[in-house]
């Protein structure tokens, strides 16, 4: 019986592996600080990643599920968050006179979306809709590696591949065609902490920021997980001993 279960498992996993071929190239497998059961975010990378998002990606991609107040997670103080929010102007209202009015954003406001609606977003991007970034790393398979891959995966299109205006060749995108111009290039963002100003570094940082955006609970979840698993291990160990003792004098 046991032997048989083993065989079934091996065959099943084998089949899954052998046939797990995808359409686009498999994204690069990066070594992230947040992977693994003890993983945590790197606050420096998160802050730099936010800078990349703010200065580059936010021109096209909204993050509707995030509020400015969430930025305290990245290690910003409340005052810093207030200052960041105040850089944006949002529409509020109606006021007592029934008029909508503009005011500086507050920490409780959602990230300001670059476009008033989806149609405007498409119109500004050759008909392609830049997806919301709040969940992007969960909304793609192998999300963190994939997002990093997209950002560094631009290449000269092979001769036989015809690209239309506004299309670019990206080896990690399904079908290899993406409607986003390469958003990053070396040196476009000035880091204050002396970190390399390369496309790879920007891509790594902004990806980590996006993973945080999608899974803000990740650190709490993993730390709780360690405790829960330890508890269950000890408890089941005790129960195993209890069971053994109770059954010691019965043949079964």
């Amino acid at each position: 019986m046991r032997f048989f279960i083993l065989i079934v498992l091996v065959v099943f996993l084998g089949m899954n592996y052998a046939f797990a071929a995808g359409d686009a190239e498999k994204p690069p497998q990066m070594d992230w600080s947040f992977s693994g059961p003890f993983g945590t975010y790197d606050r420096g990378a998160l802050q730099r990643g936010f800078q990349v998002y703010k200065q580059v990606c936010s021109a096209c991609h909204g993050m509707d599920l995030k509020s400015y107040r969430n930025l305290t997670d990245l290690g910003f103080s409340e005052d810093e968050v207030k200052a960041i929010a105040a850089e944006y102007t949002v529409i509020d209202g109606p006021n007592d006179e029934g008029e909508m009015f503009e005011r500086p954003a507050r920490p409780s406001d959602r990230f300001k979306n670059p476009y008033p609606n989806e149609e405007a977003a498409k119109y500004a991007n050759n008909g392609a809709l830049p997806p919301d970034m709040s969940l992007i790393t969960k909304a793609r398979k192998d999300g963190a590696n994939y997002t990093y891959g997209i950002l560094v995966g631009y290449e000269e299109a092979p001769a036989e591949k015809e690209l239309m205006a506004g299309q670019y060749y990206n080896k990690y995108m399904a079908g290899n065609v993406i409607a986003m111009a390469p958003p990053l290039s070396d040196g476009i963002i000035g880091y204050e902490d002396g970190t390399d100003e390369t496309v790879e570094q920007y891509a790594k940082d902004v990806t980590q920021f996006l993973v945080w955006a999608a899974e803000p609970e990740l650190e709490e979840r993993k730390q709780m997980g360690i405790k829960v698993i330890l508890f269950l291990l000890v408890f089941s160990g005790i129960m195993y001993a209890v069971k053994k003792k109770i059954w010691a004098d019965v043949k079964h």
Partner: protein, 421 residues
Amino acid sequence: MGSADRKPFDNPAIEWVDSRLPIFTMINKEYGVFPTPRNFNYFWNFGAIAMVILVLMLLTGITLAMNYVPHADYAFNSVERIMRDVNFGWLIRYMHMNGAHFFFVAVYIHIFRGMYYGSYKSPRELLWILGVVILLLMMATAFMGYVLPWGQMSFWGATVITNLFSAIPLVGDSIVTWLWGGFSVDNPTLNRFFALHFLLPFVIFAVVVLHVWALHVTGSNNPLGIDTKGPQDTLPFHPYYTMKDTFGILAFLIVYAAFVFFMPNALGHADNYIPADPLVTPAHIVPEWYFLPFYAILRAITFDIGIPFTDIVFIEAKLGGVIAMFGSIALLFALPFLDKHPVRSARFRPWFRIAMLLMVVNFFLLMVCGAKPAEGVWVILSQIGTLYYYAFFLVLIPFFNKKEPVKELPPSIHEAVLKGA
């Protein structure tokens, strides 16, 4: 449930209740001294494990429902609000989401146990049938629950599966419109799915009560598949099996917790984190893994059934697939009446044993097929798998009824145990 032969309790409070409603007497009878075969292996843990997960699903489900908004415009974001802003909302949601996966893990192992050791045979036919009813209810519940977050897979999965009913001749399209409450999967569909998803787990709970009631009438089967013949063959449920079940449940929960806390989305599909969009069809619409074998059977019927070499078609391919899929569950209902072989346990049925183990391999094969696009070699493999699935019930089992030799069985459980069988 009578109280005539009640023994008084020492504790006056317990005695006060018990003499009016003999609930403590019942608990003691059914879970305290209940005579249970002494030779269970760990496969007998999975009923209790399924029970624990059912309770877990009810508790997390009710808490989720307190924060969920069943409206096409708000459902997706209300789930994200639970994940981000509700205290421990992520924990509740991930427990519920992975709980569904592990519920099926437990129940599929539980069903395998029932088949392998012949627990479905007389006198446990009704117990088995109630089990299959639970399985059907679980499938319906899981399907509708998956629609609630209103992601891309929710929407398109619901569209594909409800569309199956359009294969029914004449009234199919009307039935689909009726199910949808409109002309496509939309807000009314989401509303009714939420209502039903809230209701069905309680129905499952009720059927589980019947299931366990029936079990306590016949008593449990055991790995040898022979009847218990007296007190030497059994042990009181408590403490022997209460403690063994507790250990089994905890061991199972370790694996479950590893998923909940460290890879909560590993068993799901990334596309469901994209909000539902009726205008964008995902490249591959794939159901959750626990439906894949049945999905593969559905898609295996790629041909019309009619009179060969003519244009006469009785059953179109689509309808054929739907019939094959529902038929595969119907066969589980029929199993106790198809298998007439006098021996229960596969331990003493070498032919059935091989067929049964191949059935497990076949289940995994169909699972892989269901996940792949329906083209090329995958169609052929699905067809082979479907053929074997049906042949197991309709050809092999009737054949074994007549031809499989009846081996000599151990005289009793305790004699077999003492010999170390």
